[in-house]
Point group: D2
Chain length 338, copies 4
Amino acid sequence: MILTVKKDCDRNELQRLMNQLEKKGLELNFSEGANYIVLGLVGDTTALDVDWLKSFTCVKEVTRVQAPYKKANRLFHPEDSIIDVSGIKVGGHEKIVVIGGPCSVEGEQIICDIAQEVKDAGGVMLRGGAYKPRTSPYAFQGMGTEGILAMVKAREKTGLPIVSELMSADKIDEFVEHVDLIQVGARNMQNFDLLKALGKVDKPVLLKRGLANTIEEWIMAAEYIMAGGNKNVILCERGIRTFEKYTRNTLDLSVVPIIKERTHLPIIIDPSHATGDWKLVEAMSLAAIAAGADGLIIEVHSCPECAWSDGAQSLKPAKFASLIEKGRAIAQVIGREL
Amino acid sequence: MILTVKKDCDRNELQRLMNQLEKKGLELNFSEGANYIVLGLVGDTTALDVDWLKSFTCVKEVTRVQAPYKKANRLFHPEDSIIDVSGIKVGGHEKIVVIGGPCSVEGEQIICDIAQEVKDAGGVMLRGGAYKPRTSPYAFQGMGTEGILAMVKAREKTGLPIVSELMSADKIDEFVEHVDLIQVGARNMQNFDLLKALGKVDKPVLLKRGLANTIEEWIMAAEYIMAGGNKNVILCERGIRTFEKYTRNTLDLSVVPIIKERTHLPIIIDPSHATGDWKLVEAMSLAAIAAGADGLIIEVHSCPECAWSDGAQSLKPAKFASLIEKGRAIAQVIGREL
Amino acid sequence: MILTVKKDCDRNELQRLMNQLEKKGLELNFSEGANYIVLGLVGDTTALDVDWLKSFTCVKEVTRVQAPYKKANRLFHPEDSIIDVSGIKVGGHEKIVVIGGPCSVEGEQIICDIAQEVKDAGGVMLRGGAYKPRTSPYAFQGMGTEGILAMVKAREKTGLPIVSELMSADKIDEFVEHVDLIQVGARNMQNFDLLKALGKVDKPVLLKRGLANTIEEWIMAAEYIMAGGNKNVILCERGIRTFEKYTRNTLDLSVVPIIKERTHLPIIIDPSHATGDWKLVEAMSLAAIAAGADGLIIEVHSCPECAWSDGAQSLKPAKFASLIEKGRAIAQVIGREL
Amino acid sequence: MILTVKKDCDRNELQRLMNQLEKKGLELNFSEGANYIVLGLVGDTTALDVDWLKSFTCVKEVTRVQAPYKKANRLFHPEDSIIDVSGIKVGGHEKIVVIGGPCSVEGEQIICDIAQEVKDAGGVMLRGGAYKPRTSPYAFQGMGTEGILAMVKAREKTGLPIVSELMSADKIDEFVEHVDLIQVGARNMQNFDLLKALGKVDKPVLLKRGLANTIEEWIMAAEYIMAGGNKNVILCERGIRTFEKYTRNTLDLSVVPIIKERTHLPIIIDPSHATGDWKLVEAMSLAAIAAGADGLIIEVHSCPECAWSDGAQSLKPAKFASLIEKGRAIAQVIGREL
């Protein structure tokens, strides 16, 4: 870490700061320029609080050299992490995974039917929301436990591992028991109590990027889970919030090479929530594969206009199947399988 | 609500949609133009799901006429709500309230000392974080219960009601017992399980706007709490995330007249988190009062560089006192007291 | 267009508004609901000013049904436009074009050398800036006319058509004479005088999206050129400004299917400026092709660290060649050639 | 400036970089840490190109210590600049100026009438657009020269200096001859050819912040004008683009203290374009004065719904007069006059 210090500062305050940094075990590198003093801090600065440093009036600027994350950092873990979701491997040079299913679970029969269609099309996991984060308190909030059990039934019938969103730590036991991959939604990406709870279990976690979170904050959210002891984190980009109005969110595909450079974690893409429009899903899915993503999570519904939520972004099974077929060809070009 | 329908659409699908809307008790107003059909929906559309409507391929556009919130809507509650926080009235034409205190509670003695300084300066409530949402798992996470009890002690000594952030529903009993005004932080603004839990108690809630949430989503978060039965919501703007780098966030003061026009709830401003820089706090505080805000929540610390978090944005007590004095004069100009 | 009108409005004002709309040749469709009046306007509303409508106090909301663009609108021009750039066809089902070259022209010899390398790698046009929009007045501002003439020489040697940025209408003659494809940079996307000047010539224009412009504003900028009489517009996405810090801009690839749905114009992608980092260029280029883009414009320099500007985002020729090879394979998958 | 260099880099490349930096007259401060080398550059780095530095593969990060602007920098010009606009002084401790007038000039009679009303209300300058930047080519583009001459007539009648927007350098002579304060609009903030042309005249310039430009880029735009020799720059904040939909733009009032800290230039606020809604103008105007702004520029029209553009954001004269009266009282509180 590098501190830029004002030359005309209170030297006593500066000395106090330097003493405190040395007490934290950091080596200091002092060099005085024409207008500023530059203070290099050598040692582990991961836990050093930038805001605390800035509260010293002598400090003008603080520059991080080391990333603030350790467990997720590729620097200290050069090989790709491969996350095992009940037998399906995600990441590394494993097959690209495609997860399909409805936004909300709406009943046992329908989720079983969709699961079969997802499987027939080439999908390897089933998604479905039982607890739904809805902007309006008057909107359908999900079937809850009944929905989870309907998914379990669909898994029994098709063999597909199931993915569902956990909204609150008090339901974690239910999810650990029944769900194969526990999703943290965008709105809860910085629900730190939830992240801490997930750090204590060993189920794989699908961590969606928050609507307005930087890549660094997203990796730090993964770090929360990993620091707690759970190494099984898969990152999922689902679009960020911008000024653009023709799409619901702006899908940021550049995260794919960035996540792969900076972390060792798998990264998958959710084109359905990113765009909010089924007509854009195929193009964005193929782009994600070409960019090097480890997987896709796509909304599929046999009757989008019958869906209880987010029908506008759901693909019909035939469209989903043809998307997978094209994706397979693109995967081959970049040396992967799907 | 108005639906714009493609003229060359599948008329059977359109008929199906219209039947379903009529079954929901809505009256339909059909008018066919040169290129489009316009369908006006008359009745209570609050709970109608825009995405469900968009999933019909015949629907091109959906336009809300009525706001999606009811309980918070000034239309149905023309007079200002005044929230009573243990005797301090917030909103309406009541006195403008100034809340002061440190980012984190750091010990009983120091919080009591700061509380006294806040009171001497003219502050009427004490803020202090006992559970801290921190981007890094390696940063100080707050003193927890011990911190809450230290604040209780500070209240005993000074009589100031206390404000603290609740991060998880499982601590709600502790907060209801000890805290006068329960804060929901920006990162939890759409933690819907937390909002629902707060709807079931009757403590006042200070609801911060999320980093990237629209005003409408923010009001909908208030609506969650109010729909559950708790009418005591105070809104708090604390800056939104933009591309600008000279400030931590961009303080959006236009929310003040907007919130007052659309809702009957009080609105207060947090200039400390918005700017991240104590040097900007006074100017933004005076601006907030001039804009018509019902209060301010400001970080105050007797020794910002000793603070365990966010020292960079904390005011020293003397500066806080002089800010209040200036704010009082501005309040008078716009016909309020402070 | 649909106007939502307050029911308790001044009916005289409403009548005045309706009279004025009828005088503009619009047919009005009046329907009175429980809380609002809905006024449908039938006819050509392209030139109707939303802000003028909103200035009537009776008007609560204005909703566009028809897009505000005509010439660029696919609705009125269903087949793809194919733009001919000195023999290179762009758009439709034509070959995907790859444009390569340095950020700035730095001399005749070096631009000729790079042009040859671009051609050898499979590039079909040469880019190079002679007039440079630089944030700092102290930074290199481009070689000007000398740079244009150096590019002309490179074209003579290699046969590659040349692309360069025009910053001001007063240089338009120079560009029409020498340049094959005139670029409008992101910062000038809404320099309307420049757009109008380009509407009067018949050279193809490469119109970059502004840093914070919506897709609709971007299409409207194309409409300016087309309304003036020049139909030869190619759109170019180069990233938008968001809060993210790990990339210079956020590349918005969803524009590809959106532009193709709403307009008949070709769309190409600039991954170099979007990311600002050469390490991300290949992944984003392949993604762009998979998404259906009609071309790429990529910074190439034989010695990035010798470049006078933007070296950080330039590819070396060998990397550029390998990118094209992979892109070719992906193009085949989606039924295109490169 | 500080370079963070990878420890395992190619030392030859690093040596080449260091040689080039020394040739530019910079002194180098080399310090080797555990994981990184830190290279401090001492000397004038204003013109050093960050992207050029990043193009060296050994360079990991570049941190500016000195701001990239000199002429606008308060560091080198501690006293406030006071800009004289035909006798009206702007900045420093001079009176707060209020500029009023219509969005577009619509005729001689009406601009003269509005000018008189602006003056009667307490406004000291008249604004009015003769050349209009409009998103649509089909919208009214302004009266051009005729509009400028109508404003000249209004100045003759009322004595108010006039402000109007220049969109293209080829009209600069007309503006220098007739206009007292030349406005650069938000969309042209980085039209560098226009900025350069304005640097060569000595008329005061009102430089609006771009829709998505950082404060630093905005100051750099002022630096362009000042580097050319014209020191008479007044900055004007008019809202930035964010995800929020209830306002047209988000007014960023924190620029007021920031601009005053970093530059010596006056800063005025445009609440009309920022909000797009006349109902919000008064609250934001009072807030701007409380924050320390040197002036306001407000849209005023005697008949907003008759206005040819932007009527939705225009105040009627009576409302404008009452705003000025309240503003005057707030100015007194902070020790200024209006």
